[in-house]
Symmetry: C2
Subunit: 502 residues, 2 copies
């Protein structure tokens, strides 16, 4: 057993090196690479991706995983090795159910679909994209059949992004969330509090913004000796190893909130990666547990911390000092409100905290219906626009800012969207538990001290990797199953105050 | 034949992807990587280097190279495939003569030697390094015996860096060079022209220096759509592909010459890489022909262009505008002289154009004697210091700035140094030929036009890859064998004028 286990770990290490090398090459592509480097870089990535794929599907690797799983089932492994075997077996089993021709077809269709989607969005013409999306939906329904499921084919797709979660559970919390948010948004829309971002409009020197973003993410706990903050067209984060995690944001010279939110959001992801146990690198115990939990870290730091009054109590005087021109006469309270304007809008990625989840719920309802076969692709724009009106009260002028706005479906990522809202719900539940365990937390933050919260997250979430499922992790850290109570409390209190709701 | 040839090209392509990926990872390590990323990056590099090595020594790859060579010898291949086969066979044959235990021992000794050398240099204590250097010299003598040679074991080592060159040829030109330089330097030392860098001393804002370096390298022809200019502790260049070539320089806020020279030097290397035929990528026809020819490109742009009067006729007014504080009252002539001060000094990498080759000749004479067995490691400091006095008139205060200054020998790079001087000699011979073919060249440069020279280099050198040997390339481009006449002419005229020699 020892020999086959060490053989397994050697193979995991090789796979990890290839994944990390690919991540460095992709980071360089997004952040540093000159334009003409694109074609040779694609060749490089495709070669290494091939090397990686070969190793992941190699019969001897799969056999070693099978051996480990058998040993785990026979209780012949210590708990950590047993969890590694369980998670690897889970990953490998799904892969094995997909015939190589199916994988090839999906890869081919989705890589072409990216360009088709881009073109259709540009022309605001859904019909140019519909045939391609139909092929993708058909392939994803086929994937669900190949993988298998208990209740709905959507289960099989969701599982890639949020392992062990079921459509039923997700549907229950998202229905609760919808039932809370729609009437709450109506109250905000009726408010006459006059919350506005206008007072902070002005010019914000980009070099100063860069320095300020670096200052913030350093202070909240992003380790610059184990990471970098760079610039890219769309903010993102990526980890090569817990000791080398890269993040980006983007800078708008007319606005300071965008760069700061982007940097904090990505730092939230990155601090999770930096907190994964380095000695488990390459195994499931060194990996993030789910997209929902990953997003809970980014959203918590971005919103519950980075848009909070305690946070800005500390940082706002520093920000004012850097940008006296727009901010000298703006009070903390006015600034705080300006950073928390709620306004229903067309685009998910630009949405505020309150309306964001409604965008997600819309997509969940639509993609689930597509996969279950109760909605056809041709009906998408009509249903999209009707739901935008129903949930957000917004009229969609064209499909470019409507059903065509997201890249996800073109890449075959169906089942991904709900993890954004799960992230918000997890984050509120974790945050409430952290505050319960750290009664002084708000005061700490108002003094610029974030180590209390980060330490809590490290201990309760980061160090465990995939040892527990997301569901178990939430139960252990908070004492409850996932539910919307903490999120609804948080939103009601915060926005009730800002919008002076009755 | 077609099948085995396409199998060979497939393997070459895989090898090229791995080499390029390694180059990206090393570039990121030097330029961007945070400090804690060091250990995981070493693991990543070592994994990929292992993958690369396996492919290079794989029996089926070697067999395909053998087949191609046989086909080439039987005149069954077109000229380009025949040259590819010839060069691959050359590379592979050398590798095959080195037993795996030998390669492992050399790798082990040299990787430890780096730290030993660093420590000894820091303590200025040659004796701490001597036993390690003795092991390296013994291994390199063994390598020469394993590889084989006609006249001197030094031939076998030189051949790695300057293929097809012999010690006899190098010795002949370097002896000519020594015989020219030593008396010429004496004349300069006797000059009372009062050439000095003092007039341009001052403060040079680093951000402005960055912009100026970018402006210069863009103007001389470095393609920023196929490359980047970044910052690192020691300037270097690296190519992942002709469409993605990265260079760095370093910035000294007290001095402007260092960053500019570094950037132009590396851009010279990079424009060679950008000029290699992309359609030959992965084959010897897509590779630089030798280190000497590579260095001829960097040294030509750095010195013959970047320290010339026509160059600064164009750029100096722009530089004055950027840095009025130190430069407003400094005339072009005074600036030009300040950029071309000759002063014998201890450190090779800081040496001026005239004394630089004397540093190289000293190293060539010493390392050749070490390999031929006529000099023992224990005698090195004494011989080094005596030669410094003889060639440069300089007294060496300690071994840290003497025999311990260079990293090369610790890495097993014996036979490398002469390529620096070959680069200077090639560069002068190429430059004279380019001027012969482009009579208007100086006037073009004084107008900021460098496309004439770059076009000449592209056509005569870059596009050929390793199709011709360096020796053939020089003969075809200039009509002569390598000789020192053009270099001596260039140095005599330029420095005769600057130092007002009789």
């Amino acid at each position: 057993m020892a020999t086959s286990n060490s053989a397994l770990h050697q193979k995991l290490s090789d796979i990890a090196q290839l994944k990390s090398a690919l991540a460095v090459l992709m980071y360089d592509r997004e952040v540093f690479m000159p334009s003409k480097g694109s074609a040779p870089r694609a060749d490089m990535l495709s070669f290494l991706a091939g090397e990686l794929h070969e190793r992941v599907v190699a019969p001897d690797f799969i056999a070693l995983v099978g051996d480990a799983k058998a040993a785990a089932d026979a209780k012949r492994l210590p708990a950590d090795e047993s969890a590694i075997a369980r998670e690897l077996f889970r990953d490998v089993s799904r892969e094995r159910k997909l015939p190589v021709e199916f994988v090839r077809e999906l890869t081919h269709v989705t890589s072409e679909a990216y360009h088709v989607w881009m073109g259709a969005r540009k022309k605001k013409d859904f019909s140019a994209y519909a045939p391609t999306l139909e092929r993708i939906v058909a392939l994803k329904r086929r994937e669900a059949e190949l993988v298998g499921y208990k209740k709905t084919p959507y289960d099989a797709l969701l599982d890639v992004y949020e392992p062990y979660a079921t459509t039923g559970e997700i549907d229950a919390v998202l229905t609760d969330l919808r039932n809370f948010l729609v009437p709450f948004l109506a109250k905000i829309r009726a408010s006459r509090a006059g919350v506005s971002a206008a007072p902070i409009a002005g010019n914000y020197d980009v070099e100063k913004q860069k320095a300020f973003c670096a200052l913030i993410v350093r202070q909240i706990g992003f380790d610059f000796e184990a990471g970098r903050l760079d610039v890219s067209a769309h903010p993102f984060s990526t980890g090569f190893h817990p000791r080398d995690v890269r993040i980006t944001t983007r800078y708008n010279p007319k606005e300071v909130g965008e760069s700061i939110s982007g940097a904090i959001h990505e730092a939230g992801h990155a601090m999770y990666e930096q907190g994964l146990p380095a000695e488990r690198f390459g195994t499931p115990l060194g990996e993030a547990v789910s997209l929902g939990i990953h997003e809970s870290q980014s959203r918590m730091w971005e919103n519950m911390v980075g848009r909070s009054l305690p946070f800005w109590t500390y940082f706002y005087p520093l920000l004012q000092k850097e940008f006296p021109a727009p901010l000298v006469a703006v009070s903390l309270d006015v600034f705080y409100r300006a950073m928390n304007v709620v306004r229903p809008s067309l685009i998910r990625v630009e949405a505020d905290e309150v309306t964001y989840n409604l965008h997600v719920i819309l997509r969940f309802e639509i993609e689930r219906a597509l996969i279950e076969g109760s909605l056809g692709v041709a009906d998408l724009p009509r249903i999209w626009n009707a739901k935008m009106k129903e949930l957000l009260g917004v009229d969609v002028p064209d499909d470019g800012v409507g059903v065509l706005q997201d890249v996800h479906w073109s890449g075959g990522a169906i089942g991904y969207f709900p993890t954004y809202s799960l992230g918000n719900l997890y984050s509120a539940q974790f945050f409430a538990a952290a505050r319960r365990d750290l009664p002084d937390m708000d005061a700490q933050m108002a003094r610029g001290e974030f180590g209390g919260l980060l330490g809590w997250l490290r201990e309760k979430i980061h160090v465990h990797g995939r040892f527990y499922s997301a569901q178990e992790l939430v139960q252990r850290a908070t004492g409850e199953k996932l539910n919307i109570r903490h999120y609804a409390d948080y939103i009601s209190k915060k926005y009730g105050a800002i919008y002076e709701l009755p």
